[in-house]
Subunit: 314 residues, 2 copies
């Protein structure tokens, strides 16, 4: 197998398109794809201040690396890395270290914010407390909501224009199917490649949404990115893991099917969103964040655990 | 376990709702559900002439049985059973016999029409011919299109108002997911519980779309319906069989999920269909059936096999 760009020795064959690449051209094909995703969805302006949510895993470190490369052509743009320290004993500290090292290598300011400072408790303690109180809260349901809230809070505080997250093609295809299995039309329509501008929420963008997970893994490997590969100790069996497995089997049998699924989501979303009534956003009575109800979902979780969120940003 | 209606010995627990039934009340719960599906989607008028597509399997014989019971309350309505004989050696003849026997037991006129009379060839010969010509036509893709065409032709010729098919909840949930995996937005929107009225197509209805497949199997068993249980010899491995397996696993873990999926389909379809441009239907140049292109998909298959369809109905 020879690289289609330079005829050199190939390292990867992209089954769904037939392209074959050497290491160097595989890396540039990924970077080109991210550039084209950014253009296609108009994710960035030339002078954007961009925060990247960096967990220390392969996806987020790859995103940071690629955005840092792209940013070089846009001297007015500025990049920050944000890591949320949920407080997971023996797991999180290693990945924060990796994120810090990579950020400093790239000359990007790295901000670490913990659940402990924002909410007065670590995830580990919250999970214990939820158990003691007999609450039906899984670690992932607590962490998902509160991490998202923490990212938005931190990005708002720094005053960035965009918050980039490292959701890849696999994540996106899974999310669409999970929303269908949950019957959640609202979330299906509101989860977008670029979120709508809403006062109080930093616009979120997903520049990796068209890159398959395994191509990100190869990119990280070829680029020598050191990442946290250990799975989260709380990672359990969920509907999403079944969907992940199903889509992987389907992709093996029908290469390109994850792209088809994500395109389908885009088509359905674009028709429906024009016809859904605009949802009135209020302010959460406790933390001041935008919310569709009196108390936002983050504060609801915190209150049920006997905790309080940060004070409103003004 | 005691029946929630009469306290008698239970035979079935409906996991997704918690209802528990004895044999008699399970049977009536299914019939009530079909009645409510018919009402919910306004599938029938009191004086409808209804053709039922009857293959001789459990679903279609159950549908025929239930519609015959319901019809008794509507003396102006009239029922017909249509069986398409595709011409599958050693498989189809048994099921035609079963369909005939059941129809005559119910006092319903039974019409059998074969691929041979309509298209001049059996499915077996078409499959052979496709092989000889090196065509990429699977037996299922030939049969699906031509059986549908044959059903519509026969229903039109009898002059019925509705054509009822036995698609169940499992079929519907699978079809939605299959359309997503195929990226087929058009079919996702156009496949409906009651098809739109379009000149040249008999309106199709699916009264069993809210009954899970396994409840139909139990109904058929309890009612002593004798059905063809042997699988079609052409039944192969397809994307749909993977989707079927996936949804069955999901239903086991999350009872009721097939309902959620079908409701989701209904919601998405209802928003999108109002916003899709109406497709202009032409007449197929060869058979006169309505078609979106110059030659309908059935005639395209037939022509590629060196065959011709029936002459236009006038």
């Amino acid at each position: 197998m020879k690289c289609i760009r330079c005829g050199g020795e190939a390292v990867y064959r992209r089954v769904y398109s037939g392209e074959v690449y050497c290491a160097r051209h595989f890396v540039s094909s990924i970077e080109d794809k991210v550039r084209s995703t950014i253009r296609r969805y108009r994710m960035l302006d030339i002078d954007d201040r961009i925060a990247v949510g960096v967990s220390g895993g392969k996806d987020s470190l790859t995103l940071l690396r690629i955005l840092a490369k792209i940013e070089k052509s846009f001297p007015k743009a500025k990049l920050y890395a944000i890591t949320i320290d949920e407080g997971i004993e023996g797991y999180r500290s290693g990945s924060i270290e990796l994120a810090s090292r990579e950020a400093s290598r790239l000359g990007v300011e790295h901000i670490v914010v913990s659940f402990e400072e924002l909410y007065g408790s670590t995830l580990d303690s919250m999970v214990e407390e939820a158990g003691r109180r007999g609450l039906k809260l899984t670690p992932c349901s607590i962490c998902g909501v509160l991490r998202r809230k923490a990212l938005n809070y931190t990005a708002s505080r720094i005053g960035v224009d965009k918050l980039a997250t490292a959701h890849n093609l696999d994540d996106e295809a899974q999310t669409f199917i999970v929303n269908i299995l949950h019957g959640d039309l609202f979330r299906l329509v509101r989860t977008k490649p670029v979120t709508d501008y809403r006062k109080g929420f930093v616009q979120r963008i997903k520049p990796l949404r068209e890159i398959p997970e395994k191509e990100i893994a190869l990119y990280a490997y070829l680029e020598g990115i050191e990442f946290q590969s250990e799975p989260c100790p709380y990672r359990g069996v969920s509907l999403r893991s079944d969907v992940r497995m199903f889509l992987n089997i389907m992709e093996d049998k029908h290469p390109g099917i994850k792209f088809t699924v994500v395109r389908m989501w885009d088509s359905i979303r674009s028709v429906i969103e024009e016809n859904l009534p605009e949802v009135e956003l209020r302010r959460c009575r406790l933390c001041g964040d935008p919310s569709i109800s009196d108390i936002c979902s983050g504060c609801s979780i915190l209150v049920s655990l006997g905790l309080r969120s940060y004070q409103p940003l003004t």
